[in-house]
């Protein structure tokens, strides 16, 4: 078991003929992920890498291949449309990797998704991995851009707003021999599909996840909301790290959502909330996995 995706999940890639879409679809295929369809409007009928059929629309791809999850690698101006196409096709999950989507577009996407069954992860996120049983976790479900070989199949759930800081965390875990059930990058934008809290609830209910790592950063209140829930409801040990304690207020630190506005969104407030919820917080990003290892 795992959350959101498992090795048998059938995945389609929107934007499979683009630079990043094709590169990462290839890497996912070689990781053993079931990439069953690609979508690029106007290129329907072509075949990607001699094995993945390309369709003009998501609806057609779903009908022909039974895909239930989509990875969106479409450029920012077209990404909102791509997400809603996946929602309209009734997918279980849309994972949007694209960075740089206008805020207004995402506001409309969130509005249009109300009452729909599809879950959105991202945008501006590294994706999701459920590691496989093979060598270097081969045979898992890799959606997005996280290097598959860093993982090891196991029982730690990881949820993070960052990309490479997630790689760092996963790698630390793997080096300590602590495998992962599922790793989820929820993205660094101010408007996102799924929060820390929603992922932690799923991990709390997943029998295969025995402990959780929460990685956050400055800006917004996603970490505080998660902390409040963890305090009263979480049955599993949680370790955490918040990036940006040294960031100056009022400046966007790379991620569109990573900004201390006035006195809101500071690392200090988030760390305090995590500590109050009984989360073991890592003093530095170098000891995230170690911090978890000490409490399990």
């Amino acid at each position: 078991m795992s959350i959101l995706v498992e090795p048998s999940t059938r995945v389609l890639v929107q934007g499979i003929t683009g630079k990043y879409g094709s590169q990462h679809a290839r890497l996912s295929l070689s990781y053993g992920t079931k990439i069953v369809a690609g979508v690029t409007p106007g290129k329907g009928g072509q075949v990607f890498e001699n094995q993945v059929p390309i369709f003009d629309t998501v609806a057609e791809a779903v009908k022909q291949t039974g895909a239930t999850v989509s990875a969106v690698f479409v450029p920012p101006p077209l990404a909102a449309d791509a997400i809603l196409e996946g929602v309209n096709a009734d997918l279980d999950l849309v994972v949007c990797i694209t960075e740089g989507i206008p805020i207004f577009d995402m506001m409309k996407v969130k509005r249009a998704m109300q009452g729909k069954r599809t879950r959105l992860i991202g945008p501006n996120c590294p994706g999701i991995t459920t590691p496989g049983e093979g060598k270097d976790s081969h045979g898992g479900c890799r959606i997005g851009i996280i290097p598959g070989h860093l993982h090891k199949r196991g029982h730690i759930g990881v949820v993070s707003r960052s990309g490479t800081l997630t790689y760092e965390t996963v790698w630390q875990l793997t080096q300590l021999g602590l495998g992962q059930s599922t790793c989820v990058g929820i993205g660094g934008d101010p408007i996102f599909g799924t929060s820390h809290l929603e992922i932690i609830k799923l991990m709390n209910d997943d029998p295969d996840t025995h402990a959780i790592i929460l990685i956050g950063e400055i800006g917004g209140t996603s970490e505080e909301e998660a902390a409040e829930w963890i305090k009263h409801n979480c049955k599993k040990p949680v370790a955490g790290f918040i990036a940006g304690a040294s960031a100056p207020p009022g400046r966007r630190m790379g991620h569109a959502g990573a900004i201390i506005s006035g006195k809101r969104g500071t690392a200090a407030a988030k760390i305090e909330a995590l500590k109050a919820a009984g989360v073991a917080t890592a003093a530095t990003p170098s000891v995230i996995a170690e911090t978890l290892a000490k409490i399990i």
């Binding site: 805020i103 851009i145 760092e168 209140t221 940006g244 003093a283």
Partner: protein, 408 residues
């Protein structure tokens, strides 16, 4: 992206949101002409406002010694003297940093008698993923301070992005500000104009602080606004007219240079530079430098899947700035392999003379190969395996570099 006050007022005026009479200028001569017209129309007082992208102008101090970047004038002569004293000078406010900003544009406006001041802003509410309009009767004050001391004085109305601000919502807010009769209609029209300006231009913030009820020379009362706007950088591709308002003089030259290579660079005031791939890891690297007793000189994200060229450009930007005591390169190779990154570091290091110790930490894909390339290059690079070791080495190298320089 931010724009000047006078530009924000022009955008608002297009949607029927009035600002005090006046206009912007770049010479003392123009300032005098604008002031003459305002006085001739019956205004008793005129205000001269320095146009820089920073708050706290009124309490700011020019490096020339002049106090205040916002001056109330009673005569054309007053305007002449103040304009002359401000143009070309560096204004230092609590938001500019000690170097200040050069004033090359002034806004000359009528200063009508203010009867009341309110606060109004539209911004994104991250908890609902919707726009929110906030108003308060406490105009002219720092909204953060109001939020902290008297939160009940801030009234919010969440807006459905699919339908926009409905007239009833605008009336509700206007009424809560105490406007009645004709002013209720005037105010609700103004509020709708402010929202339209936010929506049309894909702003991240429109703030009118204060929104003033003023008495005109002819005795009528009306509403006028002070204005501040910033925009969603990701949406600028479809707003060429906003892009044209960008003022490069307001941006740090190194940050502008970095943006050309798709790098995210923010200058800080420490002396240990860092170059990292990915924003979260870049912040975490700054944090660990602080944890080990150092001070980061910058935030630099070369992108999660940085190329060899981006790493080289990033290193060059770091080296072209102020003198560093140490540099920490932290790359977590994912798709981009560490050996490729190592070649980028070598290219930049050979091209720019290294004036301080460089600690390199490579992890992930082909990290061993990357380290080998760096160690065999003969360049004075220190290698580290973990993030902790890298930060520790960088802080120690900075300390010894500093003491060596002091001894010279």
């Amino acid at each position: 992206m931010n724009i000047h006050e006078y530009q924000a007022k022009l955008l608002l005026a297009k949607n029927g949101v009035p600002a005090p009479a006046g206009s912007a200028c770049t010479t003392v001569g123009e300032a005098v002409v604008i002031a003459e017209k305002l006085f001739a129309s019956g205004q008793k007082q005129v205000i001269v406002k320095a146009q820089i992208h920073a708050g706290g102008r009124g309490k700011g101090v020019f490096k020339s010694g002049l106090h205040g970047g916002v001056k109330l004038c009673k005569t054309v002569d007053d305007v002449y003297r103040n304009a002359k004293a401000m143009f070309g000078q560096m204004l230092v406010t609590k938001q500019t940093g000690p170097e200040g900003r050069r004033v090359s544009r002034l806004l000359i406006e009528s200063a009508s008698a203010i009867k009341r001041e309110c606060y109004l802003a539209v911004l994104l509410d991250r908890t609902t993923s919707r726009p929110v309009m906030m108003v308060s009767t406490e105009g002219g004050m720092d909204i953060e301070e109001i939020a902290e001391k008297t939160p009940e004085k801030i009234i919010r109305e969440t807006i459905d992005p699919a339908i926009g601000l409905m007239p009833y919502q605008a009336r509700k807010l206007a009424f809560s500000l105490g406007f009645t009769g004709d002013l209720l209609h005037q105010a609700s029209k103004l509020l709708q104009g402010v929202y339209r300006t936010w929506e049309q231009n894909e702003a991240t913030l429109v703030e009118t602080n204060p929104l003033c009820l003023v008495e005109q020379p002819d005795g009528t009362v009306s509403l006028v606004v002070d204005a501040k706007m910033s925009f969603d950088d990701n949406a600028l591709f479809r707003h060429p007219e906003i892009r044209q308002m960008r003022d490069l003089a307001e941006e740090s030259p190194l940050e502008t240079e970095a943006s050309k290579f798709n790098l995210n660079y923010i200058k800080l005031d420490g002396d240990i530079a860092c170059l990292v791939n990915g924003a979260g890891l870049a912040m975490a690297t700054m944090d660990i430098i602080v944890h080990y007793g150092g001070r980061p000189a910058n935030f630099l994200d070369v992108g999660g899947s940085a190329s060899r060229e981006q790493v080289a450009a990033g290193l060059k930007i770091i080296l072209s700035g102020a003198r560093m005591q140490a540099i920490l390169v932290n790359i977590f190779g994912g798709i981009m392999q560490c050996d490729t990154i190592a070649h980028g570091i070598l290219a930049a290091a050979r091209e720019n003379s290294l004036t301080c110790p460089v600690v390199v930490r490579l992890a992930g894909t082909n990290a061993d190969l990357g380290r080998k390339i760096l160690l065999e290059s003969g360049l004075p690079l220190l290698s580290a395996d973990s993030l902790a070791e890298a930060a520790d080495k960088a802080v120690k190298a900075a300390v010894s570099n500093r003491s060596q320089m002091a001894a010279c």
